[in-house]
Symmetry: C2
Subunit: 342 residues, 2 copies
Amino acid sequence: MQKRAPSPRVTTRDVAERAGVSQPTVSLVLSQNPTARISPETRARIIKAAEELRYSPNLVARSLVRSRSYALGIIVPDFRNPFFADVVSSVERVAAEEGYAVLLCEAGESSPAKYLDALHARIIDGVIIDAVGASSVHADLLDRTNVVLIDQLPGRWPGVATDAESAGAQAADHLIAFGHRRIAFIGPAIDVHSFRMRERGFWNALRAAGISLPSEYLVRANATALDGRAAMRSLFALDPRPTAVFCVNDVVAIGALKACIAAGAHVPGDISIVGCDDIELAQLVTPELTTVKVPARELGGRAARLLIRTIEGKAPGKYLGRLLPVVLVARGTSGPAPGDRS
Amino acid sequence: MQKRAPSPRVTTRDVAERAGVSQPTVSLVLSQNPTARISPETRARIIKAAEELRYSPNLVARSLVRSRSYALGIIVPDFRNPFFADVVSSVERVAAEEGYAVLLCEAGESSPAKYLDALHARIIDGVIIDAVGASSVHADLLDRTNVVLIDQLPGRWPGVATDAESAGAQAADHLIAFGHRRIAFIGPAIDVHSFRMRERGFWNALRAAGISLPSEYLVRANATALDGRAAMRSLFALDPRPTAVFCVNDVVAIGALKACIAAGAHVPGDISIVGCDDIELAQLVTPELTTVKVPARELGGRAARLLIRTIEGKAPGKYLGRLLPVVLVARGTSGPAPGDRS
DNA sequence: TTGTAAGCGTTATCAT
DNA sequence: ATGATAACGCTTACAA
């Protein structure tokens, strides 16, 4: 009783018929089940029949019976940001190697709850969540699936993260060492943990050096190049102007750099700029961007491997990796403070 | 007879029990089946029960019975190229709005056949393929699923594409109008249709202007910034040097620009550079990149909508949209040829 | 209007 | 070593 035209799809039943065995036997052979004790002859016959018919297993049917989809979800705020593109790319690579598909979710500024529901409905095996507002995710949504968080507040879920606080501190120390005393920060207001930590590390290092700053030196801007540019413009209106700026990531820093050049300010002569991430682009702008190198691909790769190990029961679910180290890379956008002799 | 611990997953059966109806009735109500003629009271009772139990449908089971996964595949060569990230982003957006998931496949230089098989096994509803080597895809792999090609040779599969030949021609005309006569091209050797067409349009326009060039002015390089930089360095070794370069895309152009600046060459005073795509970055380098604007997001959005319409039987399967127009945006990296008075 | 029954293509638990 | 048989959770005739 089929209402559709007979699908050209070959099933285990077709293979069984051709090989002259029962359907479950075909499954036993073709699903690589190690428990299978099948005589070499029948096994060969089945494999031959499968190849002749160009059999391809229906993963949906397998998923239904196994309650696993062999698929991973990855939720990021914005894949046009090269950093997230790197993370996603490495997740996809690891996943593909291990036989998992990757479902892409671009959550934007909004809550990922909608995506989590959709993934749950697809019996997703696990989800990687990178840099979404932590407060917006409800615990019960996360508890019903395997989750690995990237650059989030360490808590009850396993995660991988970079030493974001150190990133901010290194940026501050670098600028302080160049004699800067009027240092601004450009970063978003949203509650993304790694951004928060970069900011905190930065302020703490300044405070430790006895530097306190007017509140106008803290500029809130979305983590995009366009907003970075606008933020830098607003800093130019200040008196006294900062002599250096730390930007929450490279995209913002490149926007800020552009604003400086457009305004005729000399970088790093008049103003120094430090970014964070070390995206490929950092070395393609002129002058090349001084930034804190964050291992994006390793972050994604580790997250994917941790998640897959968790799914396959090979790792403690609550495992939390140590913070990945970050290191400042001094390039062309940072230099001595104007008038400083150090 | 369950071997696993009882899953906390709520099924239609649970809802049916709580609402005091049969399981199929629940399905009828909850799957929004328009054929359903259910009394308002039972309907309300079922919906209430579903909400109380926090029922979420199992899409895998639905997929099995419907032979549809409500998922799309997208195959791109390189997710880290901002152009493809844009395409993927817009595909994801449209797909999410229409209730489809997106499976990401980063094929690299290699053949997408492996990914096509994997997607087929997942009963994918359709696949979008952007700029993979057309020759490497076998017809029978594509014939068993819905396909929309982006920027590929028009043929038996529906697709959307930009007017790549015009892009090359506009770049050439722009440089010719500035008085350039020694014009180089940097582009990959691989068989990607839109790259080929950009190149062809470029050479044809030069020929039409009576300009012929030494073969060293054609430099083969992968479509990455790093390779663009290396390619430009090799052009510097030539005598006479070209006074202008057309790069197959912006990433290459930005690499080339970097090489010029590093070598102390003045852009556009000594050498003009024209890219193609108009990625966001084009306006963030200094000088800003002259390039041909290609509507990446529209390309992705159209492809996704065309594919979904095809899947849902609302469009002629062989529909081929007209070429999307492209337009050159003159910015800071192009100018009069050295010594030219035009 | 609603319940009954069949089946989607697998995997897994039994027998034999 | 292999074949019946029963799920997995849902959709969809068809019967009542």
